[in-house]
């Protein structure tokens, strides 16, 4: 069943949370393909303990049910050794498995970054095309849970910078399922970033398996007055602003790239060719960030159409603070997005 067909008929589908959608994708792919395994800390939980066989099913519950269903041989709890986890996934991917490694928090790439960016990402190129590394690195990302500086980063700009990696960031449950299934079936290393604040959000999600191709943006709203590009948890906020402006008769394209690498730059360029106005919203830090990346692509390839400065709405150049009032001020909010859109419209 094609994505289009599914979306069209999506009304008929049951509402599911992002958590349920990803969990369902994992279940269906492990069912379908015996070479798919899941590994990481607490993916089942309870190993070496006297209690339940599945103490956690992932600290955020994303892998719940997989352990009991597929057994600990395919749902592997690991020590706190992220380099060993990612390395094992990469080496297994080179030799016949399709591992889905959970990094728990993307902030932990610091202790395993070499295995991601120098190993998994580069094998195919260094080895002249002979290696395949079909692995998925799942990690939760983003601020909002008061988890402070070392548990609230986005880091997709760092991953997007690395040639050889694919980077996925769903903004809703429907995309989350289709992108996860695609990620598992994909033959390249994929970093799959799940925003903490989206896990409980719902939308209709088909029960049957389906894939969403990488590098195809989704239009969360359509309109020719301005173009808003937003990712992950920023998409609903951008949509809220677009809807508010629509009530005033101002129509915006809200483009959700869904994958930052590959990137659907065509969709963005075409939209700006029409609107002439661009606001990029991203929760990551600004310097060498994703908003800058989109801005530069448009400034080079759609310059002629631009009728206003490109506005980037991002987190500030600071770590994520703990105090709720500060964290709330850190995350781009609807007011800031709205102001930026009005600025480019006014210019």
């Amino acid at each position: 069943m094609s994505e289009a067909a599914l979306s069209a008929s999506s009304g008929k589908h049951p509402e599911k949370t992002v958590r349920e959608a990803i969990n369902e994708a994992l279940h269906q792919e492990m069912e379908r393909d015996p070479t798919v395994i899941v590994l990481g800390e607490e993916v089942a939980g309870g190993a070496g303990c006297k209690g339940s066989d599945e103490a956690y099913g992932g600290v955020f519950g994303l892998t719940k049910g997989l352990g009991p269903r597929f057994g600990r041989e395919r749902v592997i709890d690991t020590p706190i050794s992220e380099s060993a986890i990612i390395g094992a996934a990469a080496g297994a991917a080179n030799t016949g498995l399709r591992p889905v490694a959970e990094l728990m928090f993307v902030d932990f790439i610091g202790v395993c970054f070499d295995q991601i960016f120098n190993q998994a990402a580069k094998f195919r190129y260094m080895f002249g095309g002979k290696a395949r590394t079909p692995m998925v690195i799942r990690a939760t990302a983003g601020a909002g849970l008061r988890a402070a500086a070392q548990h609230s980063s986005m880091l997709h700009p760092v991953l997007t910078h690395i040639p050889g990696l694919k980077v996925v960031m769903p903004s809703n449950a429907y995309d989350a399922k289709g992108l996860m299934i695609q990620a598992i079936r994909d033959d390249d290393p994929v970093c799959f970033l799940e925003h903490k604040l989206l896990y409980e959000t719902t939308c209709p999600v088909p029960d049957e398996p389906y894939t969403i191709p990488f590098g195809e943006a989704a239009f969360a709203r359509e309109g020719s007055d301005a173009t808003i590009v937003a990712l992950g948890a920023m998409v609903p906020r951008a949509v809220a602003v677009a809807d508010k402006l629509a009530a005033e008769g101002v129509q915006c394209d809200v483009i959700d790239p869904r994958t930052t690498s590959p990137l659907d730059s065509e969709a963005i360029i075409e939209s700006v060719e029409v609107s002439g106005r661009l606001v990029v919203v991203d929760e990551a830090n600004p310097r060498c960030g994703f908003a800058a990346d989109i801005s530069s692509i448009v400034a080079e390839h759609a310059f002629g159409a631009l009728r206003a400065p490109i506005k980037c709405v991002t987190a500030p150049h600071t770590p994520v603070p703990f105090a709720p009032v500060l964290e709330d001020a850190y995350i781009p909010n609807e007011d800031k997005i709205e102001k930026a859109v009005r600025d480019v419209l006014g210019a």
Binding site: E42, A47, Y56, A148, T318
Partner: protein, 321 residues
């Protein structure tokens, strides 16, 4: 009397303060007064106190995500801690660190650390400063059983051995890393792992303050006297969840009741000091009450403290920029 009364009183005061502090943090968290992720130290008091009671402000400790007990044992101010953990202005870190990043450089508390294994490499640095500047101090890193599997910790052990750093590596083996047992996740024994780096290491009952105290005394003297690093594996237990709110599905039937009944380091301490008639029950009860009062005052101060001003978001990223 084998131990001075001052020592015995200080030890119990600090242990009961930590215990009551953590029980109160759980209450305040459940009451919605504490944001974020909080990991409590209750059950492990004898380790943090047995070690830190022998340290001065110039000695340095590096802690973990489970840092409240280490902070209190190292002398951090209760009120400022609670204010920090509540994310308020005037907290130890201006409300910007929280439970997982609480620190007090002035007290030689180099910080909790939300990255498992983050601390030991940093404590090597503190120890390197001491060695380079010719100070007789010691750096103490606290790690867990789970943390012993992090490459950074093992690298730190080796480097400390290579440079003969005054670094006391304390491993609090509470047999759990979130919901994973050390029996499963630690291949071999922590104490042997440390020794394999050529670092002397002892294993003690971490529920016995005196066992921890004696082993640490030896270790700290060893480090201070320039003989290089030392290790300790403390066999201990975690009284509560990994984090506040943890359903603890990994616990066996009656496991917690049994632990609380038979492995409570405060009960064990009380039995020992009253049995030896070093202190009386009423003396200890009074210390419990004093601690309660201090914590109550800290909580009220924390609750009353204002939120940080939004400008704080942009401060202290750099010394200059």
């Amino acid at each position: 009397m084998k131990y001075s009364k001052d020592l015995l009183v200080e030890a119990y005061t600090t242990m009961t303060t930590i215990r009551q502090f953590e029980e109160r943090m759980i209450k305040e968290f459940m009451g919605g007064n504490i944001p974020g992720f909080v990991h409590t130290y209750d059950g492990q008091e004898a380790v943090g106190v047995g070690v830190c009671i022998q340290l001065g402000d110039d000695d340095i400790i590096g802690s973990t995500h489970r840092g409240h007990g280490h902070c209190i044992a190292k002398g951090c101010d209760i009120e400022l801690m609670i204010t920090e953990i509540m994310g308020k202005a005037g907290g130890l870190c201006k409300g910007k660190g929280g439970s997982m990043h609480i620190a007090d450089i002035d007290k030689g508390m180099l910080g909790a650390n939300a990255i498992v294994g983050g601390g030991p490499p940093l404590c090597n640095g503190a120890a390197l400063s001491m060695k380079t500047l010719g100070k007789p101090q010691v750096a103490v890193s606290f790690s867990g059983d789970g943390s012993s599997n992090q490459g950074t910790v093992m690298e730190a052990l080796n480097l400390a051995g290579v440079l003969d750093l005054p670094h006391f590596f304390v491993f609090e083996n509470n047999h759990l890393a979130e919901g994973t047992g050390d029996e499963y996740a630690v291949s071999g024994e922590i104490v042997d792992r440390v020794r394999a780096f050529g670092i002397p290491c002892e294993k003690v009952d971490g529920t016995d303050f005196f066992a921890v105290y004696e082993a640490s005394k030896k270790a700290i003297e060893h480090c201070r006297s320039g003989k290089g690093p030392y290790g300790l594996e403390a066999d201990v237990i975690r009284f509560d969840g990994h984090f506040i709110g943890d359903p603890q599905a990994y616990r066996g039937d009656g496991e917690l009741d049994d632990l609380r009944a038979n492995k409570d380091c405060l009960k064990i301490y009380r039995a020992r000091v009253t049995g030896e008639s070093w202190l009386t029950d009423s003396e200890l009860d009074e210390l419990d009450e004093r601690a309660a009062a201090v914590i109550e005052q800290g909580v009220q101060a924390g609750l009353a403290a204002p939120q940080p001003t939004v400008e704080e978001l942009h401060n202290d990223v750099y010394c200059s920029y």
